[in-house]
Protein backbone atom coordinates (compact mmCIF):
# COMPACT_ATOMS: atom_id res chain seq x y z
CA UNK A 1 0.00 0.00 0.00
CA UNK A 2 2.81 2.39 0.85
CA UNK A 3 4.58 1.70 -2.45
CA UNK A 4 1.28 2.39 -4.17
CA UNK A 5 1.09 5.79 -2.49
CA UNK A 6 4.60 6.69 -3.61
CA UNK A 7 3.64 5.82 -7.20
CA UNK A 8 0.61 8.06 -7.07
CA UNK A 9 2.62 10.99 -5.75
CA UNK A 10 5.04 10.39 -8.61
CA UNK A 11 2.19 10.53 -11.14
CA UNK A 12 0.82 13.71 -9.58
CA UNK A 13 4.15 15.49 -9.25
CA UNK A 14 4.65 16.88 -12.78
CA UNK A 15 1.19 18.44 -12.91
CA UNK A 16 1.37 19.82 -9.38
CA UNK A 17 4.85 21.28 -9.81
CA UNK A 18 3.94 22.90 -13.11
CA UNK A 19 0.79 24.47 -11.68
CA UNK A 20 2.65 25.66 -8.61
CA UNK A 21 5.43 27.28 -10.63
CA UNK A 22 3.34 28.72 -13.46
CA UNK A 23 0.10 29.68 -11.69
CA UNK A 24 0.32 29.82 -7.91
CA UNK A 25 3.81 31.26 -7.47
CA UNK A 26 3.22 34.09 -10.02
CA UNK A 27 0.23 35.21 -7.96
CA UNK A 28 2.63 36.17 -5.18
CA UNK A 29 4.92 37.59 -7.86
CA UNK A 30 2.15 39.97 -8.90
CA UNK A 31 1.78 41.20 -5.33
CA UNK A 32 5.57 41.65 -5.10
CA UNK A 33 5.71 43.58 -8.39
CA UNK A 34 2.91 45.87 -7.25
CA UNK A 35 5.27 47.22 -4.56
CA UNK A 36 8.07 47.87 -7.04
CA UNK A 37 8.31 50.49 -9.70
CA UNK A 38 9.72 50.02 -13.19
CA UNK A 39 9.39 52.07 -16.32
CA UNK A 40 10.74 52.18 -19.82
CA UNK A 41 13.48 54.60 -18.68
CA UNK A 42 14.44 52.80 -15.46
CA UNK A 43 13.83 49.08 -16.02
CA UNK A 44 15.40 48.05 -12.68
CA UNK A 45 12.66 47.54 -10.11
CA UNK A 46 12.82 49.99 -7.19
CA UNK A 47 10.87 49.47 -3.97
CA UNK A 48 7.94 51.86 -3.98
CA UNK A 49 5.85 50.80 -1.01
CA UNK A 50 2.23 51.72 -1.54
CA UNK A 51 3.05 54.52 -3.98
CA UNK A 52 1.69 52.64 -6.98
CA UNK A 53 -1.57 51.86 -5.20
CA UNK A 54 -1.96 55.51 -4.25
CA UNK A 55 -1.21 56.64 -7.78
CA UNK A 56 -3.67 54.23 -9.36
CA UNK A 57 -6.46 54.93 -6.93
CA UNK A 58 -6.05 58.66 -7.56
CA UNK A 59 -6.10 58.13 -11.33
CA UNK A 60 -9.41 58.72 -13.07
CA UNK A 61 -8.87 55.75 -15.43
CA UNK A 62 -8.98 53.35 -12.50
CA UNK A 63 -12.58 54.31 -11.77
CA UNK A 64 -13.35 54.00 -15.48
CA UNK A 65 -11.80 50.52 -15.63
CA UNK A 66 -13.84 49.43 -12.63
CA UNK A 67 -17.11 50.76 -14.08
CA UNK A 68 -16.34 49.33 -17.53
CA UNK A 69 -15.48 45.93 -16.06
CA UNK A 70 -18.81 45.86 -14.23
CA UNK A 71 -20.84 46.92 -17.29
CA UNK A 72 -18.97 44.54 -19.56
CA UNK A 73 -19.10 41.54 -17.21
CA UNK A 74 -22.75 41.85 -16.23
CA UNK A 75 -23.85 42.80 -19.74
CA UNK A 76 -22.18 39.81 -21.35
CA UNK A 77 -23.13 37.33 -18.64
CA UNK A 78 -26.77 38.37 -18.57
CA UNK A 79 -27.30 38.41 -22.34
CA UNK A 80 -25.20 35.31 -22.95
CA UNK A 81 -27.08 33.25 -20.38
CA UNK A 82 -30.54 34.42 -21.44
CA UNK A 83 -29.79 33.84 -25.10
CA UNK A 84 -28.08 30.54 -24.32
CA UNK A 85 -31.01 29.32 -22.28
CA UNK A 86 -33.64 30.35 -24.84
CA UNK A 87 -31.63 28.69 -27.59
CA UNK A 88 -31.33 25.54 -25.52
CA UNK A 89 -35.12 25.53 -24.98
CA UNK A 90 -35.65 25.94 -28.71
CA UNK A 91 -33.22 23.15 -29.59
CA UNK A 92 -34.77 20.85 -27.01
CA UNK A 93 -38.10 20.71 -28.91
CA UNK A 94 -38.96 17.89 -31.25
CA UNK A 95 -38.45 19.70 -34.50
CA UNK A 96 -36.91 18.72 -37.82
CA UNK A 97 -33.37 19.89 -38.61
CA UNK A 98 -32.54 19.98 -34.89
CA UNK A 99 -29.19 18.20 -35.31
CA UNK A 100 -28.03 20.47 -38.10
CA UNK A 101 -29.06 23.56 -36.16
CA UNK A 102 -27.19 22.38 -33.06
CA UNK A 103 -24.02 22.05 -35.11
CA UNK A 104 -24.56 25.49 -36.67
CA UNK A 105 -25.12 27.21 -33.35
CA UNK A 106 -21.80 25.89 -32.03
CA UNK A 107 -19.86 27.58 -34.86
CA UNK A 108 -19.09 30.89 -33.08
CA UNK A 109 -17.84 28.97 -30.05
CA UNK A 110 -15.16 27.12 -32.06
CA UNK A 111 -14.26 30.16 -34.13
CA UNK A 112 -10.88 31.39 -32.78
CA UNK A 113 -11.41 34.51 -30.62
CA UNK A 114 -9.12 36.73 -32.65
CA UNK A 115 -10.87 35.73 -35.87
CA UNK A 116 -14.25 36.50 -34.31
CA UNK A 117 -12.92 39.88 -33.19
CA UNK A 118 -11.48 40.75 -36.61
CA UNK A 119 -14.70 39.66 -38.27
CA UNK A 120 -16.77 41.90 -35.98
CA UNK A 121 -14.38 44.79 -36.42
CA UNK A 122 -15.11 44.56 -40.11
CA UNK A 123 -18.85 44.10 -39.48
CA UNK A 124 -18.84 47.34 -37.49
CA UNK A 125 -16.85 49.35 -40.06
CA UNK A 126 -18.80 52.63 -40.51
CA UNK A 127 -18.62 52.64 -44.32
CA UNK A 128 -17.90 49.07 -45.41
CA UNK A 129 -19.47 47.11 -42.58
CA UNK A 130 -22.47 44.86 -42.86
CA UNK A 131 -24.09 46.16 -39.66
CA UNK A 132 -24.58 49.69 -40.97
CA UNK A 133 -25.54 48.47 -44.45
CA UNK A 134 -28.27 46.22 -43.11
CA UNK A 135 -29.61 48.74 -40.61
CA UNK A 136 -29.63 51.49 -43.26
CA UNK A 137 -31.41 49.30 -45.79
CA UNK A 138 -34.01 48.30 -43.24
CA UNK A 139 -34.45 51.95 -42.34
CA UNK A 140 -33.59 51.40 -38.68
CA UNK A 141 -30.90 54.11 -38.71
CA UNK A 142 -30.64 57.20 -40.89
CA UNK A 143 -26.88 57.73 -40.90
CA UNK A 144 -23.94 55.39 -40.55
CA UNK A 145 -22.91 54.84 -36.95
CA UNK A 146 -19.24 54.58 -35.94
CA UNK A 147 -19.97 51.72 -33.56
CA UNK A 148 -16.47 51.28 -32.18
CA UNK A 149 -15.21 54.86 -32.41
CA UNK A 150 -18.17 56.45 -30.65
CA UNK A 151 -17.57 56.28 -26.91
CA UNK A 152 -21.31 55.99 -26.21
CA UNK A 153 -21.72 52.97 -28.53
CA UNK A 154 -18.35 51.20 -28.13
CA UNK A 155 -19.13 49.20 -24.98
CA UNK A 156 -22.51 48.01 -26.25
CA UNK A 157 -20.85 47.00 -29.53
CA UNK A 158 -18.11 44.90 -27.94
CA UNK A 159 -20.71 43.28 -25.67
CA UNK A 160 -22.83 42.24 -28.69
CA UNK A 161 -19.79 40.71 -30.39
CA UNK A 162 -18.79 38.85 -27.21
CA UNK A 163 -22.31 37.51 -26.69
CA UNK A 164 -22.45 36.27 -30.27
CA UNK A 165 -19.17 34.41 -29.66
CA UNK A 166 -20.05 33.15 -26.19
CA UNK A 167 -23.71 32.15 -26.08
CA UNK A 168 -23.19 28.73 -27.72
CA UNK A 169 -21.13 27.67 -24.72
CA UNK A 170 -23.95 28.53 -22.32
CA UNK A 171 -26.42 26.89 -24.70
CA UNK A 172 -24.41 23.66 -24.68
CA UNK A 173 -24.55 23.40 -20.89
CA UNK A 174 -28.22 24.40 -20.62
CA UNK A 175 -29.17 21.90 -23.32
CA UNK A 176 -27.40 19.09 -21.49
CA UNK A 177 -29.21 20.09 -18.30
CA UNK A 178 -32.59 20.21 -20.05
CA UNK A 179 -32.03 16.74 -21.45
CA UNK A 180 -31.42 15.48 -17.93
CA UNK A 181 -34.77 16.76 -16.67
CA UNK A 182 -37.09 13.95 -15.64
CA UNK A 183 -39.64 13.63 -18.46
CA UNK A 184 -42.24 11.88 -16.28
CA UNK A 185 -42.55 15.01 -14.14
CA UNK A 186 -43.22 17.11 -17.21
CA UNK A 187 -45.82 14.64 -18.43
CA UNK A 188 -47.47 14.60 -15.01
CA UNK A 189 -47.64 18.40 -15.05
CA UNK A 190 -49.15 18.29 -18.55
CA UNK A 191 -51.84 15.85 -17.37
CA UNK A 192 -52.57 18.23 -14.51
CA UNK A 193 -53.29 20.83 -17.18
CA UNK A 194 -50.13 22.94 -16.91
CA UNK A 195 -49.34 24.89 -20.10
CA UNK A 196 -45.83 25.33 -21.47
CA UNK A 197 -45.11 28.42 -19.34
CA UNK A 198 -46.29 26.76 -16.12
CA UNK A 199 -44.25 23.64 -16.93
CA UNK A 200 -41.19 25.79 -17.53
CA UNK A 201 -41.61 27.74 -14.28
CA UNK A 202 -42.77 24.93 -12.02
CA UNK A 203 -40.91 21.87 -13.31
CA UNK A 204 -38.02 22.69 -15.64
CA UNK A 205 -36.52 25.74 -13.91
CA UNK A 206 -36.46 24.23 -10.39
CA UNK A 207 -34.95 21.03 -11.82
CA UNK A 208 -32.01 22.82 -13.42
CA UNK A 209 -31.61 25.58 -10.84
CA UNK A 210 -28.14 24.43 -9.79
CA UNK A 211 -26.90 24.33 -13.36
CA UNK A 212 -28.16 27.87 -13.96
CA UNK A 213 -26.40 29.25 -10.90
CA UNK A 214 -23.12 27.46 -11.61
CA UNK A 215 -23.26 28.46 -15.26
CA UNK A 216 -23.82 32.12 -14.41
CA UNK A 217 -20.97 32.28 -11.92
CA UNK A 218 -18.68 30.42 -14.31
CA UNK A 219 -19.40 32.86 -17.16
CA UNK A 220 -18.90 35.74 -14.71
CA UNK A 221 -15.36 34.53 -14.06
CA UNK A 222 -14.58 33.81 -17.72
CA UNK A 223 -16.00 37.13 -18.94
CA UNK A 224 -14.19 39.18 -16.31
CA UNK A 225 -10.92 37.65 -17.55
CA UNK A 226 -11.62 37.86 -21.27
CA UNK A 227 -9.04 39.81 -23.27
CA UNK A 228 -9.12 38.94 -26.97
CA UNK A 229 -12.32 40.53 -28.24
CA UNK A 230 -11.90 43.95 -26.65
CA UNK A 231 -8.21 44.18 -27.45
CA UNK A 232 -8.68 43.45 -31.14
CA UNK A 233 -11.89 45.49 -31.51
CA UNK A 234 -10.99 48.69 -29.66
CA UNK A 235 -7.68 48.34 -27.72
CA UNK A 236 -9.71 49.67 -24.77
CA UNK A 237 -10.68 52.86 -26.58
CA UNK A 238 -11.98 55.27 -27.64
CA UNK A 239 -10.11 57.04 -24.83
CA UNK A 240 -10.75 54.48 -22.09
CA UNK A 241 -14.37 53.75 -22.90
CA UNK A 242 -13.88 49.98 -23.21
CA UNK A 243 -10.81 49.39 -21.02
CA UNK A 244 -11.39 46.50 -18.64
CA UNK A 245 -8.84 44.98 -16.23
CA UNK A 246 -7.15 42.57 -18.69
CA UNK A 247 -6.72 45.17 -21.46
CA UNK A 248 -5.50 47.80 -18.99
CA UNK A 249 -2.97 45.37 -17.50
CA UNK A 250 -1.64 44.42 -20.91
CA UNK A 251 -1.40 48.01 -22.14
CA UNK A 252 0.27 49.26 -18.97
CA UNK A 253 2.72 46.35 -18.81
CA UNK A 254 3.65 45.67 -22.41
CA UNK A 255 2.67 48.93 -24.08
CA UNK A 256 4.25 51.31 -21.55
CA UNK A 257 6.60 48.88 -19.73
CA UNK A 258 5.18 49.98 -16.37
CA UNK A 259 5.28 46.50 -14.88
CA UNK A 260 4.64 47.68 -11.33
CA UNK A 261 1.46 49.53 -12.19
CA UNK A 262 0.28 46.68 -14.42
CA UNK A 263 0.82 44.33 -11.47
CA UNK A 264 -1.11 46.66 -9.18
CA UNK A 265 -4.05 46.48 -11.55
CA UNK A 266 -3.47 42.72 -11.48
CA UNK A 267 -3.76 42.65 -7.69
CA UNK A 268 -7.11 44.45 -7.89
CA UNK A 269 -8.38 42.01 -10.48
CA UNK A 270 -7.23 39.06 -8.36
CA UNK A 271 -9.23 40.52 -5.44
CA UNK A 272 -12.37 40.72 -7.59
CA UNK A 273 -11.75 37.19 -8.83
CA UNK A 274 -11.34 35.97 -5.26
CA UNK A 275 -14.85 37.20 -4.49
CA UNK A 276 -16.26 35.51 -7.61
CA UNK A 277 -14.42 32.26 -6.90
CA UNK A 278 -15.69 32.25 -3.31
CA UNK A 279 -19.18 32.69 -4.71
CA UNK A 280 -18.55 29.79 -7.07
CA UNK A 281 -17.32 27.58 -4.24
CA UNK A 282 -20.40 28.39 -2.17
CA UNK A 283 -22.94 27.64 -4.92
CA UNK A 284 -21.05 24.53 -6.04
CA UNK A 285 -20.89 23.30 -2.44
CA UNK A 286 -24.61 23.91 -1.96
CA UNK A 287 -25.43 22.15 -5.21
CA UNK A 288 -23.33 19.13 -4.23
CA UNK A 289 -24.91 18.92 -0.81
CA UNK A 290 -28.37 19.06 -2.34
CA UNK A 291 -27.40 16.26 -4.67
CA UNK A 292 -26.21 14.11 -1.78
CA UNK A 293 -29.43 14.71 0.15
CA UNK A 294 -31.59 14.04 -2.91
Amino acid sequence: MRKDRRLHWLLLAPALILMAVMLYYPMFGTVYESFHETSFLSPDPKFAGLALYRRILADRTFAEVVVNSIVWTFGVVLLQNILGFLTALLLNQNLPMQGVLRAIVLLPFILPGVVAAILWRFMYDPQLGLVNSLLLQMGLIENSVAWLADSRMAMASVIVAAVWKGFPFSMLIYLAALQNVDQSQIEAATLDGAGPTRRLLDVTLPAIRDVIVVNVVLTLILTFNYFDIIWVLTRGGPQSATHIFPTKIYETGFGQFRFGEAATYGVFSILVLAVLVALYAIVQGRANRRRVVA
Binding site: A103, I118, R121, F122, F259
Partner: protein
Protein backbone atom coordinates in the same frame (compact mmCIF):
# COMPACT_ATOMS: atom_id res chain seq x y z
CA UNK B 1 -45.55 15.25 -27.35
CA UNK B 2 -47.97 16.61 -29.91
CA UNK B 3 -47.60 20.25 -30.85
CA UNK B 4 -50.15 22.49 -32.47
CA UNK B 5 -49.42 23.49 -36.01
CA UNK B 6 -49.20 27.20 -35.14
CA UNK B 7 -46.72 26.46 -32.34
CA UNK B 8 -44.57 24.49 -34.76
CA UNK B 9 -44.64 27.34 -37.23
CA UNK B 10 -43.49 29.86 -34.62
CA UNK B 11 -40.74 27.53 -33.41
CA UNK B 12 -39.55 26.92 -36.95
CA UNK B 13 -39.43 30.65 -37.61
CA UNK B 14 -37.37 31.13 -34.46
CA UNK B 15 -35.00 28.43 -35.63
CA UNK B 16 -34.53 30.21 -38.93
CA UNK B 17 -33.90 33.50 -37.12
CA UNK B 18 -31.34 31.83 -34.86
CA UNK B 19 -29.53 30.28 -37.81
CA UNK B 20 -29.47 33.68 -39.52
CA UNK B 21 -28.01 35.48 -36.50
CA UNK B 22 -25.29 32.87 -36.18
CA UNK B 23 -24.53 32.38 -39.84
CA UNK B 24 -24.67 35.90 -41.25
CA UNK B 25 -21.19 36.97 -40.02
CA UNK B 26 -19.72 33.65 -41.25
CA UNK B 27 -21.41 34.03 -44.58
CA UNK B 28 -20.04 37.52 -44.93
CA UNK B 29 -16.52 36.44 -43.97
CA UNK B 30 -16.52 33.78 -46.68
CA UNK B 31 -18.20 36.09 -49.18
CA UNK B 32 -15.65 38.90 -48.72
CA UNK B 33 -12.81 36.39 -48.88
CA UNK B 34 -14.04 35.48 -52.38
CA UNK B 35 -14.43 39.05 -53.61
CA UNK B 36 -11.90 40.62 -55.96
CA UNK B 37 -9.93 43.48 -54.32
CA UNK B 38 -12.23 46.39 -55.14
CA UNK B 39 -15.59 44.77 -54.36
CA UNK B 40 -15.43 45.02 -50.54
CA UNK B 41 -15.49 48.80 -51.02
CA UNK B 42 -18.89 48.82 -52.64
CA UNK B 43 -21.32 50.91 -50.57
CA UNK B 44 -23.67 49.67 -49.24
CA UNK B 45 -21.93 46.37 -48.50
CA UNK B 46 -23.06 43.53 -50.75
CA UNK B 47 -23.78 40.10 -49.35
CA UNK B 48 -22.81 38.16 -52.47
CA UNK B 49 -19.56 38.45 -54.42
CA UNK B 50 -20.31 39.60 -58.00
CA UNK B 51 -17.20 37.99 -59.46
CA UNK B 52 -16.02 35.32 -57.02
CA UNK B 53 -12.29 34.49 -57.07
CA UNK B 54 -9.82 32.54 -54.96
CA UNK B 55 -7.16 35.21 -55.56
CA UNK B 56 -7.30 36.37 -51.93
CA UNK B 57 -6.48 32.90 -50.67
CA UNK B 58 -3.48 32.67 -52.96
CA UNK B 59 -2.07 36.04 -51.88
CA UNK B 60 -2.95 35.56 -48.20
CA UNK B 61 -0.98 32.32 -48.16
CA UNK B 62 2.22 34.36 -48.12
CA UNK B 63 5.45 33.08 -46.51
CA UNK B 64 4.71 34.79 -43.16
CA UNK B 65 1.35 33.09 -43.01
CA UNK B 66 3.00 29.74 -43.54
CA UNK B 67 5.48 30.50 -40.73
CA UNK B 68 2.66 31.49 -38.36
CA UNK B 69 0.78 28.35 -39.33
CA UNK B 70 3.77 26.11 -38.60
CA UNK B 71 4.39 27.86 -35.27
CA UNK B 72 0.77 27.41 -34.23
CA UNK B 73 0.85 23.79 -35.30
CA UNK B 74 4.05 22.96 -33.40
CA UNK B 75 2.99 24.76 -30.23
CA UNK B 76 -0.57 23.38 -30.26
CA UNK B 77 0.40 19.77 -30.93
CA UNK B 78 3.17 19.81 -28.31
CA UNK B 79 0.74 21.31 -25.81
CA UNK B 80 -1.93 18.71 -26.58
CA UNK B 81 0.50 15.81 -26.12
CA UNK B 82 2.09 17.13 -22.93
CA UNK B 83 -1.16 18.31 -21.33
CA UNK B 84 -3.07 15.13 -22.05
CA UNK B 85 -0.22 12.93 -20.81
CA UNK B 86 0.36 14.83 -17.58
CA UNK B 87 -3.38 15.31 -17.17
CA UNK B 88 -4.16 11.59 -17.43
CA UNK B 89 -1.42 10.67 -14.94
CA UNK B 90 -2.66 13.25 -12.46
CA UNK B 91 -6.34 12.48 -12.99
CA UNK B 92 -5.64 8.78 -12.46
CA UNK B 93 -3.99 9.46 -9.12
CA UNK B 94 -6.77 11.84 -8.19
CA UNK B 95 -9.36 9.11 -8.65
CA UNK B 96 -7.47 6.07 -7.34
CA UNK B 97 -4.91 7.18 -4.76
CA UNK B 98 -5.50 6.77 -1.04
CA UNK B 99 -3.83 10.03 -0.14
CA UNK B 100 -5.23 12.11 2.69
CA UNK B 101 -4.55 15.45 1.04
CA UNK B 102 -6.31 14.49 -2.18
CA UNK B 103 -9.44 16.61 -1.85
CA UNK B 104 -7.37 19.68 -0.99
CA UNK B 105 -5.26 19.05 -4.10
CA UNK B 106 -8.39 18.66 -6.24
CA UNK B 107 -9.52 22.01 -4.84
CA UNK B 108 -6.25 23.59 -6.00
CA UNK B 109 -6.87 22.23 -9.50
CA UNK B 110 -10.39 23.65 -9.62
CA UNK B 111 -9.11 27.01 -8.39
CA UNK B 112 -6.37 27.02 -11.02
CA UNK B 113 -8.99 26.88 -13.78
CA UNK B 114 -10.24 30.30 -12.81
CA UNK B 115 -6.96 32.19 -12.74
CA UNK B 116 -6.91 35.55 -14.48
CA UNK B 117 -4.01 35.10 -16.87
CA UNK B 118 -3.62 38.81 -17.42
CA UNK B 119 -3.17 39.32 -13.66
CA UNK B 120 -0.20 36.94 -13.41
CA UNK B 121 1.40 37.60 -16.77
CA UNK B 122 4.00 40.12 -15.52
CA UNK B 123 5.79 37.67 -13.16
CA UNK B 124 5.52 34.85 -15.72
CA UNK B 125 7.02 37.14 -18.34
CA UNK B 126 9.90 37.97 -15.99
CA UNK B 127 10.46 34.28 -15.21
CA UNK B 128 10.58 33.50 -18.93
CA UNK B 129 12.99 36.37 -19.47
CA UNK B 130 15.41 35.23 -16.76
CA UNK B 131 15.24 31.65 -18.05
CA UNK B 132 16.02 33.03 -21.52
CA UNK B 133 12.88 31.42 -22.94
CA UNK B 134 11.18 34.52 -24.35
CA UNK B 135 10.48 34.32 -28.06
CA UNK B 136 10.88 30.54 -28.11
CA UNK B 137 8.36 27.74 -28.53
CA UNK B 138 9.02 26.68 -24.94
CA UNK B 139 7.70 29.89 -23.42
CA UNK B 140 4.37 29.31 -25.15
CA UNK B 141 4.24 25.54 -24.59
CA UNK B 142 4.95 25.93 -20.86
CA UNK B 143 2.36 28.67 -20.49
CA UNK B 144 -0.24 26.76 -22.50
CA UNK B 145 0.30 23.48 -20.68
CA UNK B 146 -0.09 25.18 -17.33
CA UNK B 147 -3.36 26.90 -18.29
CA UNK B 148 -4.93 23.90 -20.04
CA UNK B 149 -3.76 21.31 -17.52
CA UNK B 150 -6.25 22.12 -14.72
CA UNK B 151 -9.25 21.80 -17.07
CA UNK B 152 -7.77 18.68 -18.66
CA UNK B 153 -7.33 17.04 -15.25
CA UNK B 154 -10.91 17.95 -14.40
CA UNK B 155 -12.33 16.54 -17.63
CA UNK B 156 -10.27 13.33 -17.46
CA UNK B 157 -11.15 12.87 -13.80
CA UNK B 158 -14.83 12.92 -14.81
CA UNK B 159 -14.21 10.10 -17.27
CA UNK B 160 -12.05 8.02 -14.93
CA UNK B 161 -14.61 8.22 -12.12
CA UNK B 162 -17.02 6.37 -14.40
CA UNK B 163 -14.59 3.51 -15.12
CA UNK B 164 -15.12 0.46 -12.90
CA UNK B 165 -12.12 -0.02 -10.63
CA UNK B 166 -12.84 -3.77 -10.56
CA UNK B 167 -11.09 -4.36 -13.90
CA UNK B 168 -7.88 -2.81 -12.60
CA UNK B 169 -8.09 -4.70 -9.33
CA UNK B 170 -8.50 -8.09 -10.99
CA UNK B 171 -5.58 -7.37 -13.30
CA UNK B 172 -3.49 -6.44 -10.26
CA UNK B 173 -4.49 -9.71 -8.57
CA UNK B 174 -3.39 -11.57 -11.71
CA UNK B 175 0.03 -10.10 -11.04
CA UNK B 176 0.14 -7.16 -13.44
CA UNK B 177 2.43 -4.33 -12.31
CA UNK B 178 0.78 -0.92 -11.69
CA UNK B 179 2.36 0.41 -14.89
CA UNK B 180 0.98 -2.52 -16.91
CA UNK B 181 -2.46 -1.95 -15.44
CA UNK B 182 -2.26 1.71 -16.36
CA UNK B 183 -1.03 1.13 -19.88
CA UNK B 184 -3.14 -1.91 -20.81
CA UNK B 185 -6.39 -1.08 -19.04
CA UNK B 186 -6.69 2.56 -18.02
CA UNK B 187 -5.32 4.17 -21.18
CA UNK B 188 -7.47 2.22 -23.69
CA UNK B 189 -10.61 2.60 -21.58
CA UNK B 190 -10.19 6.36 -21.26
CA UNK B 191 -9.92 6.91 -25.02
CA UNK B 192 -13.15 8.93 -25.34
CA UNK B 193 -11.97 11.15 -22.50
CA UNK B 194 -8.54 11.54 -24.06
CA UNK B 195 -10.11 12.56 -27.38
CA UNK B 196 -12.48 15.06 -25.76
CA UNK B 197 -9.65 16.59 -23.74
CA UNK B 198 -7.35 16.79 -26.76
CA UNK B 199 -10.01 18.63 -28.76
CA UNK B 200 -10.52 21.04 -25.88
CA UNK B 201 -6.79 21.72 -25.51
CA UNK B 202 -6.44 22.18 -29.26
CA UNK B 203 -9.29 24.70 -29.42
CA UNK B 204 -7.80 26.70 -26.55
CA UNK B 205 -4.20 26.74 -27.73
CA UNK B 206 -4.96 27.29 -31.41
CA UNK B 207 -6.62 30.60 -30.55
CA UNK B 208 -4.58 31.71 -27.53
CA UNK B 209 -3.73 35.37 -27.88
CA UNK B 210 -2.51 37.05 -24.69
CA UNK B 211 0.58 34.92 -23.97
CA UNK B 212 1.47 34.68 -27.65
CA UNK B 213 1.23 38.46 -27.97
CA UNK B 214 3.39 39.08 -24.90
CA UNK B 215 6.04 36.37 -25.24
CA UNK B 216 6.87 36.51 -28.95
CA UNK B 217 8.63 39.48 -30.45
CA UNK B 218 9.70 38.49 -33.97
CA UNK B 219 7.74 37.51 -37.06
CA UNK B 220 9.49 34.13 -37.04
CA UNK B 221 7.91 33.21 -33.71
CA UNK B 222 4.41 34.65 -34.12
CA UNK B 223 1.44 32.31 -33.97
CA UNK B 224 -1.62 32.65 -36.19
CA UNK B 225 -3.81 34.79 -33.89
CA UNK B 226 -1.01 37.30 -33.29
CA UNK B 227 -0.04 37.27 -36.96
CA UNK B 228 -3.65 37.88 -37.90
CA UNK B 229 -3.86 40.77 -35.46
CA UNK B 230 -0.72 42.25 -37.07
CA UNK B 231 -2.46 42.03 -40.44
CA UNK B 232 -5.06 44.57 -39.29
CA UNK B 233 -2.55 47.39 -39.18
CA UNK B 234 -0.52 46.38 -42.20
CA UNK B 235 -3.20 45.23 -44.56
CA UNK B 236 -6.09 47.05 -42.97
CA UNK B 237 -7.74 47.88 -46.23
CA UNK B 238 -7.12 44.53 -47.92
CA UNK B 239 -10.22 43.04 -46.43
CA UNK B 240 -10.42 40.21 -48.93
CA UNK B 241 -7.03 38.89 -47.87
CA UNK B 242 -7.78 39.43 -44.21
CA UNK B 243 -10.99 37.41 -44.46
CA UNK B 244 -9.27 34.70 -46.52
CA UNK B 245 -6.62 34.39 -43.78
CA UNK B 246 -9.36 34.27 -41.16
CA UNK B 247 -11.07 31.42 -42.96
CA UNK B 248 -7.78 29.53 -43.23
CA UNK B 249 -7.05 30.03 -39.51
CA UNK B 250 -10.49 28.74 -38.56
CA UNK B 251 -10.74 25.72 -40.85
CA UNK B 252 -8.33 23.28 -39.16
CA UNK B 253 -9.85 23.55 -35.71
CA UNK B 254 -13.40 23.51 -37.10
CA UNK B 255 -12.64 20.36 -39.06
CA UNK B 256 -11.24 18.62 -35.99
CA UNK B 257 -14.22 19.77 -33.95
CA UNK B 258 -16.80 18.46 -36.37
CA UNK B 259 -15.22 15.03 -36.62
CA UNK B 260 -14.88 14.68 -32.86
CA UNK B 261 -17.81 16.81 -31.75
CA UNK B 262 -19.71 14.14 -29.89
CA UNK B 263 -16.76 13.31 -27.63
CA UNK B 264 -16.14 16.96 -26.94
CA UNK B 265 -19.70 17.86 -26.06
CA UNK B 266 -19.90 14.90 -23.70
CA UNK B 267 -16.65 15.96 -22.03
CA UNK B 268 -17.57 19.61 -21.49
CA UNK B 269 -21.11 19.02 -20.29
CA UNK B 270 -20.20 16.09 -18.02
CA UNK B 271 -18.10 18.35 -15.83
CA UNK B 272 -20.51 21.28 -15.81
CA UNK B 273 -23.81 19.49 -15.39
CA UNK B 274 -22.86 16.75 -13.01
CA UNK B 275 -20.30 18.82 -11.10
Amino acid sequence: MKQKRSTRLVLTLMQVLLALVVLLPFFWMVSVSLKPPTEPFAIPARLWPDHPTVGNYVSAFRPEFRTYFMNSLVVSLATVVITVTLGLLAAYSFTRAQIVAISALVGLVVLAQMFPHSAIIIPIYKMMRSADLLNTYWSLILAYVSVTLPVAIWMLRGFLLKLPAALEESAAIDGATPLRVFWDIVVPLSRPGLIATSVYVLIVTWQEFLFALSFTSTKEMRTLPVGLNDFIGQYGIRYGELMASSVMVSLPVMAVFFFLQRYFVAGVTAGAVKG
